[in-house]
Symmetry: C2
Subunit: 390 residues, 2 copies
């Protein structure tokens, strides 16, 4: 087991009607002027935005609004938000939405207190040393951004989709999580969230770090819970308990609970980012295409942990042939993804003729000669994995 | 799933040589004058105390010392510590030790800023609203106090062993956890720690709250990891990875990761506290006697979750007869406890003739007419459970 720091200071306030506490929580965490960041119309249509605003008014906290964050969020909205925050002297960003909204709020929070271009943080030209406080009212269990210090933004002119990790400063101070808010998510978006949270765990689980039994068990247990609850949610979208279990799984998948003491991988995420940045697909759908392809490739190159996953998560009998066991596990994962409506190939993703050479060259331009850790992928390897997803 | 708050703001700095960071961490968290609290001679003999003091000196943090905390810690040491803290104007308590030391430090931290008797907090006469900061260098994985807001203290004149929960103010700001510090723990103390951390999980796992799959899976996974790693540690006390896995299990068993959204039980802990306060046995050893007795009694009164535990944690085949399945699970737990040197009966605990009527009457005097939640125990029930442990 490697040395590690576990630090998850976010206060998660979880359950029915919890959005009514938003104003009180913002006050508790010292907000004097809030900017509420949100996306498209669903937060407005559902009445959630109005309830959150009411809660802020009841707590006597002045606020301004920044709507219109798109999925796969882009830099232009961040620049807009930074400007408004400076003008309005905002000291807390309140993200009402899913990962795109939260990630945009984090980027703004870091950018407001920085003299240069916020994009410097994403390309590694500067380190985030301070940021405005970020808080969350979560509406989509998927990205785990409500409990992480990470943010992913796309630079619209260069088509770079890059992630930034600044857990010391960018973790939300509080996250309000009401599973009822997820009742009306379209089935496809629910399923994409499932793929995303499973991927967050698997990026940590597939590691060469030995003797990490507690990490393995937490990862496996969370994956098993996600699978079981996702099946229920797809059948009964208004099943509170299933929605609640799934929502909490999404958080612990990414707040550091899973994968302590392990070298993490993240190749599948990076392989996917290149797809969504060019073809504008939903991140989770891209992952349900890429992750099984990555795992299949791994059965030839580093099979051990894939086989353990098959046995412990999917209950594949351990026949003593790790490759066969692993392939059976992958087959069950694909069956599961398919059963909840997720694509398994580029074609099913709606990308009939992906430009694989472009994907590979962008990937290694952005991430360097080698990508990932479980096996350090060369451009030749990345190409083979993309091809397995055709 | 019930509404819940998950809030675990402690920064856990985990791994080899991490105690050298103590001074830097104390400075990061604003300490200006520290009181180092410790127990008997082992922290001195091992050189740990000297290394921690050096780290504080290197960070230019003045400190004073309070040694001599006993297992099953008592109020008199708390009063002593409060007095010293006030005189020396201490603003951070640094506990170097296990649960007794940490719990004493927390009691002092709360008491210093309170005008009345700190014991008021434990008997529910007052609520802890503020406290000095507490930090930890952990030497015994067992109590989980390094990640919890709880403390248990015994009032020496009335023989009341009572717990206090104040998660908003008493959670350590940081906990330094070096598994190497546990290499020299005597086997019996290691085993008692194992029973304690398993009990912390089982107190949460045995619940009537339905549809808590993610909580169940996290509890089961952590229990399985503890069992596997404990067996290794008993055989190879200097196996770093096994010690590391076990140490982290002890933390997540009690920092709130396990049991989110569940009504918790805690009857077994309360049944045990009455034993250790009268017979001064080690808490974990008392638990290894009481918990199987409590579970055995439950097979007659609320078998469902005990049977699930047997199947999922111990791999007992599900025969369709929950009572038989549950009893087989309990039998495997007892076999495991026995194999690592833990007692299973009062006699093995060294208490030949326990005064069960006294235990029962003290228990219900301290905890009220009913104890626990999985089944609300009456004095008659408590007596039957104690008798099952004879």
């Amino acid at each position: 087991m490697n040395n590690f720091i576990f630090y998850s200071p976010t206060e998660f306030v979880f359950g029915k009607d919890t959005e009514a506490q938003t104003g009180t929580l913002a006050r508790k965490y010292g907000a004097r002027r809030v900017m509420v960041v949100y996306g498209g119309g669903s937060a407005v249509r559902s009445g959630l935005l109005e309830r959150v605003e009411r809660s802020l008014r009841e707590a006597d906290i002045p606020y301004c609004l920044l709507g219109g964050v798109l999925p796969n969020p882009i830099d232009t909205k961040v620049y807009e938000g930074i400007e408004v925050c400076r003008k309005e002297k905002v000291d807390m960003l309140l993200a009402v939405g899913g990962g795109s909204v939260i990630d945009t709020a984090k980027a703004i929070a870091a950018g407001v207190l920085y003299d240069g271009d916020f994009w410097d943080f994403y390309v590694g030209k500067a380190v985030v040393e301070k940021a405005l406080k970020v808080a969350v009212v979560l509406t989509i269990p998927a990205a785990g951004s409500e409990g992480s210090g990470n943010t992913v933004i796309t630079k619209s002119d260069t088509l770079q989709k890059l992630s930034l990790r600044a857990p010391g400063v960018l973790r939300p101070v509080f996250s309000v999580m009401n599973p009822e808010l997820t009742y009306t998510l379209p089935p496809f978006q629910t399923a994409c969230g499932v793929a995303d949270m499973m991927a967050h765990i698997m990026e940590r689980y597939f590691t060469n770090t030995k003797e990490v039994e507690i990490s393995d068990r937490l990862c496996e247990g969370t994956l098993m819970a996600i699978i079981e609850e996702a099946i229920k949610v797809m059948k009964e979208p208004r099943n509170y308990d299933a929605r609640a279990n799934l929502m909490w799984c999404g958080t612990i998948a990414h707040n550091g609970t899973c994968g302590v003491g392990c070298e993490e991988d993240w190749a599948s995420h990076f392989l996917e980012h290149e797809i969504s940045v060019i073809y504008n697909v939903t991140h989770g759908a891209g992952l349900s295409v890429i992750f099984p392809a990555w795992m299949t490739w791994m059965t030839e190159h580093n099979v051990e942990k894939i086989a353990q996953y098959a046995v412990r998560v999917w209950g594949v009998p351990d026949s003593g042939d790790p490759k066969a066991v692993a392939l059976e596990g992958i087959s069950r994962l694909k069956e599961f993804f398919s059963s909840i409506g997720l694509p398994l190939t580029f074609k099913e993703l709606g990308v009939e003729h992906p430009d694989i050479d472009l994907l590979v060259s962008n990937l290694h331009r952005n991430k360097g000669e080698f990508v990932g850790n479980y096996v350090k992928l060369t451009p030749k390897d990345s190409k083979e994995i993309y091809q397995l997803a055709l």
